[in-house]
């Protein structure tokens, strides 16, 4: 099935309580599949087409504030509109999952794939000092697997989590093993897992207030410090990445998502050419596997960061290796997906002297 369809199936199977979204290419199959599968008749999952991405993310804010597992999805221009709600969710510490099936920009841009929302995804995206957990799937299987993983992380840390995909993975068809069925939580389970949820004050507790507002600067600073401490823990515990043929490699190609699939092929071609290349694929883009990448790069000759953008993750790679070895970037823009041959050529041209 398509990557987008896998998201929809996985959402139903992993006990999602509600999906709120607005159609946009190239991810409309997510809401279309959900509408066709009618999960409200089976698991009781709510599916609603909102009037805009702004409304969708605020429905997510409401649902998340009420302790539910809620999901939305969009593509780049729509995700830009959602930044208000995501910032509020980060500020109010709400768990929610959103999927960005990226397309090229800026502006209305193109409906073709891109990875040009890396900065937006990994730097917070909206106003204020915050981060969202970012998972980058590179296969249809991972589209399916990351839905539950994103929810688990979101609830563990009371923080929004994003699946940063792109038009390639969203539209691509692959065989997929759907995740096991997990029932939706009962009210009792929600009360236990989310004692902070705003779902009606029982006489045994004070009112639960979901808000990101605090006018006293001393209190607001403490809130921010609390968030920063949480982000430190996430950086400590939740870094995920994959490596291929890095042990004996002289050159490391760093790519995420769909670009990593192309990077994998580029490593093969380079090795056929006698160049010892390896692939490093960050799975979590935030937290970025900085320490792990720096460790892996010791003794290597150079790093080529191949992304479908003008050079975004390359900044995190440079920060990670901190000048220890040359770091170059190769990318295609505007909806063009690079060929493995181009990447090998770029490797030779910029690093292999």
């Amino acid at each position: 099935m398509k990557g987008n369809e896998a998201i929809a199936h996985a959402a139903i199977r992993c006990g999602t309580d509600g999906y709120f979204g607005y159609p946009i290419t190239p991810q409309s199959e997510i809401i279309e599949t959900l509408a066709a599968l009618k999960p409200w008749e089976t698991t009781g999952m709510v599916v609603l087409q909102a009037e805009s991405e702004v409304a969708s993310i605020n429905m997510i804010y409401g649902g998340a504030g009420a302790g539910k597992r809620v999901l939305t999805s969009s593509s780049s221009p729509g995700v830009a509109l959602m930044q208000e709600g995501i910032s509020y969710m980060a500020g109010a510490e709400l768990p929610g999952v959103f999927v960005n099936v990226q397309r090229g920009g800026p502006g209305l841009g193109t409906i073709q794939p891109s990875q040009s929302d890396y900065f937006q995804a990994t730097r917070g995206g909206g106003n204020g000092d915050y981060n969202v957990i970012v998972l980058a799937p590179s296969s249809v299987q991972e589209m399916a697997d990351f839905v539950d993983l994103a929810f688990e992380l979101a609830f563990k840390y009371r923080n929004p989590a994003m699946i940063l995909s792109d038009g390639v993975i969203g539209q691509m068809m692959e065989k997929v093993v759907l995740p096991p069925i997990k029932p939706r939580r009962t009210e009792e389970e929600i009360r236990k897992e989310c004692p902070w949820a705003s779902i009606g004050r029982t006489p045994d507790r004070k009112p639960n207030i979901i808000t990101s507002l605090e006018l006293k600067p001393e209190v607001m600073e403490q809130r921010n410090l609390h968030l920063q401490e949480k982000y430190r823990q996430i950086r400590e515990n939740e870094v995920r990445f994959e490596t291929q043929q890095c042990d004996d490699a002289d050159y490391i190609i760093v790519s995420f998502g769909s670009a990593a699939r192309i990077g994998e092929k580029a490593v093969e071609l380079a090795r056929e050419d006698g160049l010892k290349a390896g692939l490093f694929r960050p799975v979590t883009l935030w937290p970025f596997p900085s320490r792990q990448l720096a460790e892996l790069c010791k003794g290597k000759k150079g790093v080529l960061v191949s992304e479908i953008n003008a050079g975004q993750m390359v900044q995190d790679v440079r920060l990670a290796v901190n000048g220890a070895l040359p770091v170059e970037h190769f990318g295609r823009l505007g909806g063009i997906v690079p060929d493995p041959e181009e990447i090998v050529a770029a490797l030779k041209e910029t690093l292999v002297k």
């Binding site: 309580d17 509600g18 709120f20 709510v46 609603l48 909102a50 009037e51 805009s52 702004v54 409304a55 969708s56 605020n58 429905m59 997510i60 804010y61 409401g62 649902g63 998340a64 504030g65 009420a66 539910k68 809620v70 208000e84 709600g85 509020y88 109010a92 705003s198 779902i199 009606g200 004050r201 029982t202 006489p203 004070k206 009112p207 639960n208 207030i209 979901i210 808000t211 990101s212 507002l213």
Partner: protein, 255 residues
């Protein structure tokens, strides 16, 4: 004399129990306080304190959650109807309502308001219309009257410069999803009683799944209008009521 009257068996009126002792940040004489009391009384009388979830706006009522001891969510500016939609769809047995001002509901949140009402979400919306932005210091609102002076139309609202005031309650009454659309005020005992009955009807209708309700309360903002609370009530009766006529605009609840 007074001493033997003041005893529990003679009690006829006190602040609702759901309203806590926190001093409200509203200006002296502000209509918000009266409406807060009515919302609290209705929730208490319906026995829904443990099922009520309020969604408050950005604007003067942003701190409503400090005063009524129920669960709340504070929504981004204008998005309360979308936030409430999320909660109500996922917790249909809860009493989920929004409490919004004119800038929040009829300007930045017009899309969310119209669409939530039109989908017939089982949500009552309490709409405080005082024709001005109170929290930010008295700027022009979508409901500011033609000729009315504010900080951003200091020479009076001029349709050529600023466009017309928006009668969103009238608009809401034409939407298929609404079951109850009414305009009330809280400037006298009689009007307060009527407003309370309207809030009760809207809340009941939402729990019976009859659709969305909009209860507009034509209100004063004496600080923004630069009048005393007493004069503000007079100005409201004289200038607001002719433009925002009180009464039910739509009622298909059968309640």
């Amino acid at each position: 004399m007074a001493n033997n009257i003041i005893s529990p068996e003679n009690l006829v009126y006190k602040k609702p129990a759901l309203m806590n002792d926190t001093t409200m940040h509203y200006c002296p004489g502000c209509s918000h306080g009266v409406v807060h009391k009515l919302v609290a009384e209705v929730i208490e009388e319906m026995g829904m304190s443990d099922k009520a979830v309020g969604v408050c706006p950005v604007g003067c009522a942003v701190f409503a959650y400090r005063y009524l001891d129920i669960d709340w969510q504070e929504a981004p500016h204008g998005r309360a109807p979308a936030v409430a939609t999320g909660i109500k769809r996922l917790w249909p047995d809860r009493l989920v309502f929004t409490y919004q001002g004119d800038g929040d509901l009829a300007c930045i949140g017009t899309a969310e308001t119209i669409h939530a009402l039109n989908r017939g979400e089982n949500i009552p919306i309490i709409f405080i219309n005082n024709a001005i932005y109170g929290m930010t210091g008295g700027q022009m609102a979508p409901t500011t009257l033609i000729g009315q002076k504010t900080a951003t139309c200091p020479y009076g609202r001029d349709p050529e410069l600023h466009g017309y005031n928006l009668n969103i309650t009238e608009l809401a009454s034409h939407l298929k999803g609404t079951c109850f659309v009414t305009r009330q005020s809280v400037d006298s005992v009689a009007s307060i009683n009527k407003a309370k009955r309207a809030i009760r009807k809207a809340f009941e209708a939402s729990m019976q799944g009859k659709g969305s309700s909009l209860v507009e309360i034509v209100s004063t903002c004496n600080s923004g209008w630069k009048l005393t609370p007493v004069k503000a009530n007079e100005w409201m009766r004289e200038n607001m009521f002719p433009e925002y006529e009180k009464g039910d605009l739509k009622d298909t609840t059968g309640l």
